[in-house]
Amino acid sequence: MTSAGDLAGALLALGLQALAGAAVWLDRRRAGGAQRLACALTLSGAVLGLFCSIDGLIRGLSGTLTLSGRLPIGALRLGADPLSWAFLLPIFAVPGLSAVFGLGYHARADHPRGRILDSWMAALAASMGLVVLSRGAAPFLLAWEAMEVSGYFVAAGEHGDPGIRRAGWVYLVAAHLSSLCLAALFALLLAHTGTTALSRTAFSALPATAAAAAFLLALAGFGLKAGLFPLHFWLPGAHAGAPSHASAVLSGAMLNVGLYGILRLTALLPAPQPWWGQCLLALGAASAAGGALFGLAQSDLKRSLAYSSMEHMGVAAMAAGLALLGAATGHPGWVALGVAAAVLHCWNHSLFKPLMFFGAGAVQRATGTRSLDRLGGLAGRMPATALAMAVGAGAAAALPPLNGFVGEWLLYLGGTRALTGSPTMPLAVPLALAALAFTGALALAGAVRIQAAVFLGRARTQDAGRATEAPAGLLLPMALAAGGCVALGSAAPLAGPLARVAETWRPGLVAEPLLGTALAWTSPAAAALVLLGTALALGSSAWLRRRGLRRGDTWACGYAGGGARAQTTATALSRSLVELFGGVLRVRMEGEPPGRRLWPGPSRIESVAPDIVLEHGMAPLWRRLNRILGHLRSFQRSRVQAYLAAAALTLAVLLLA
């Protein structure tokens, strides 16, 4: 196919996804036929879109398309290049998987209001695709705003809960701050270049100070979207509160758009400075380590997963920072490895995080809770879900041979290349690598914690004890995503496509030989590791069967193992780590401890781990702003005479000026 064909195919695929949003309204009864039709439309859009994107990515196609030039804010220019194709992949794949999961998870018969959610999810998918395909300020900002607004209705879909309404409100504030930054960014570009086109030639005229300001605005606007520390404050609430198949899209596809924005803008801005890369490295390192650490303190399964998303976006941002540093200091090797690591890690995250949100949804559906301290023992009752979640948890903890490892390893390789290859380098690189090492160890603890609290040991509540395995309709998307996690672990075939992206990001770069040799070992090593593990596991279980395997009580220090309440809970498992970093985490105990009287009354105690930026940063800031700006409100509700006076004054000023 030609580039125009691929672009048209991708637009058609987005159209099909949008059409699915209309199709859900076809039947009025709770039959669910329309939901199946919408799912089929989304899936066909996903397949078509994936085909076009992969084709465009492998062949490195790029092309543009101008739809109309009559808008006051510039032409509707669309276009695609390997950077767009790379980020279109999750935008097509995740909503497709999520639609299949939604058929069983959010069946129309049980959720009659789900049609509204489905429509907004379709709008979200289509608008995310348009953001990535935009080549001018007008389509970009329009698609961005559509994405933000539909994202709000998706995140706040279950608005019966006041906590979710509040989280949705916080999301909306963050989304509009982000839009504001981007509007300012495009205004700045228009003022300096006279055009709103997103192209390298248009940007080349930008003076150095304006380029620096544009970088900072992009970092704030897109960093808010990607959930980089400290701009992540909206993320945990929004992702935890949404229904699980919606959380999968929010975290597996929408966060990537923020990183896409950072990569796109930094590809276009002329003469990148070393401090840009250092900024991005520092923000990424803080998000990665912070996300891993905050996730350990959460007792809600989905909040913990949301913080893990922040962690992985931080890793991808670090990789982008390394690439930017390489571009500023003239090291093509850092650029190639950095861009490849950033894109690969986004892909990886878009596989294992939807998988884990699906798993969390299946668990919540089976037990009615997502509190880590109320689950347990599900591995026996939901073995397939447990296995899929174990793959997701292993990938999230960057364990070989799964895909999460390859992404982080590419970043390590880039950092090591910087360490070994150049005599002098900014201190940000070794500091970021240290943060990455710390993040990896904490992420392992987080993965073990989630897997153990949900699936291992005994059921802690009756509901968890009565759980049954998820139906095939829920397991299928999980199995597909888990298969993807294993398949991308052997990343040698990805060297070519990743090289195309890096070469698009920095023209003139030759990335393929470097990435080819770097990734060549991953396929044989992953296959060997899988074979070795399978062989040892099969061999040892066969031997166990032969020698005899008896069941007995769990041994607990001379006693038979205690009941379900004596097990180590998720809170206990991470307690010493949380205490070690208590100064950062600020976990507090709330409730009434049992009295010291002879017959103590009922007591309740709860460990609360709020988001520190939201609670100690943003909320006080907003309260203060509200107090200051509140003085203006008296003017807003004043008399007609005052309004008239103000209008006359404005008119006079405008006439005189």
């Binding site: 390789l413 070994t420 090492a437 160890a441 590791l529 008896r550 498992l573």
Partner: protein, 300 residues
């Protein structure tokens, strides 16, 4: 013709249970006891392997497969380690990160296996292991990064020879070696972090996770931990060996080095008491700082 690198790895796999045996000999000598023989672990493994296993009634497939999968990861890590004069059987650029990650895979399965029993002790051991390793793993990676900077090589085969290539990097090398030694103690649950010989469950770290293992499952777990100890000892010995190969050949030198590390651990364990669990993170933080300073010195 020189033997293939895989032959060195096979020799290491066979000799691995000897390392804890050597440490126990040294400790017995200092305590004035007769103590178990150096080959005791071989006898234990052979006995355990032939027994049947009792598993907890709450356990699932995780418990039955965990020890084998953990051992598979440790074996894969062994394949990455260069032992002879040539790089390891599976060396590649950035393999030191894969080495650390494979050790982490082993930890993933050990902790999950412990938590699958639903025992409070298994959970306690896993919680301690995860806490300590969250500081030990950065120290390991940072010291390997420092070695990579000193040697200019991104492969284990090159970076472990930092000592021969460094011009004036002696201080950085010493700091990295100190950090690696602390990591060895922490990752293998030796004193002062954990007492491998304790019988008091409340104070255990690694042993608490193995409380419910029996028969072949315990044999797999014990062999994996002996292998991990030997891997770390070989890593440290390989790094500290003098540059030009001694006349006896690099393999004998490496074996002597591993024995030397075992001797050092044995002497240390005879002289030290176990530290309070609250103080251990401070020790590991020191290891991180040592590794960090080593990297800083190497950067200068």
């Amino acid at each position: 013709m020189a033997p293939l690198p895989i032959a060195d790895t096979a020799a290491l796999l066979v000799a691995a249970p000897l390392t804890p045996g050597l440490i126990n000999r040294v400790k017995a000598f200092f305590a004035g006891r007769r103590g178990p023989g150096a080959f005791q672990l071989y006898h234990d493994l052979a006995k355990l392997w032939r027994k049947d296993a009792v598993v907890g009634s709450t356990t699932t497939w995780v418990f039955q497969l965990g020890p084998a999968l953990g051992l598979a990861a440790t074996l894969a890590a062994a394949l990455l380690l260069p032992l002879g004069p040539r790089p390891g059987p599976a060396g590649f650029a950035g393999d030191f990160v894969a080495f650390a990650a494979l050790i982490a895979v082993g930890r993933f399965f050990t902790t999950l296996t412990a938590l699958d029993t639903g025992s409070a002790f298994g959970g306690m051991g896993a919680a301690r292991e995860l806490t300590l390793s969250s500081l030990a793993e950065p120290a390991l990676l940072l010291s390997l990064l420092a070695l990579a900077r000193i040697s200019g090589s991104p492969r284990l085969g090159g970076l472990l020879e930092a000592g021969t290539r460094a011009a004036g990097g002696g201080a950085a090398l010493a700091l990295a070696a100190g950090a690696l030694f602390v990591v060895l103690l922490a990752e293998n649950c030796r004193l002062p972090v954990d007492d491998p010989q304790t019988h008091l469950e409340l104070t255990m770290v690694h042993e608490a996770m193995l409380l419910d293992h029996g028969g072949p499952l315990l044999a797999l777990a014990l062999y994996a931990s002996a292998l991990r100890l030997t891997l770390f000892a070989a890593l440290l010995a390989r790094m500290l060996l003098p540059g030009p190969c001694p006349p006896a050949g690099p393999r004998v030198a490496l074996a002597a080095g591993v024995a030397g590390v075992a001797l050092a651990v044995g002497v240390l364990e005879s002289a030290l008491a176990r530290w309070s669990l609250r103080r251990v993170p401070v020790l590991l933080l020191w290891a991180c700082l040592l590794a960090g300073f080593s990297l800083l010195l190497a950067l200068a």
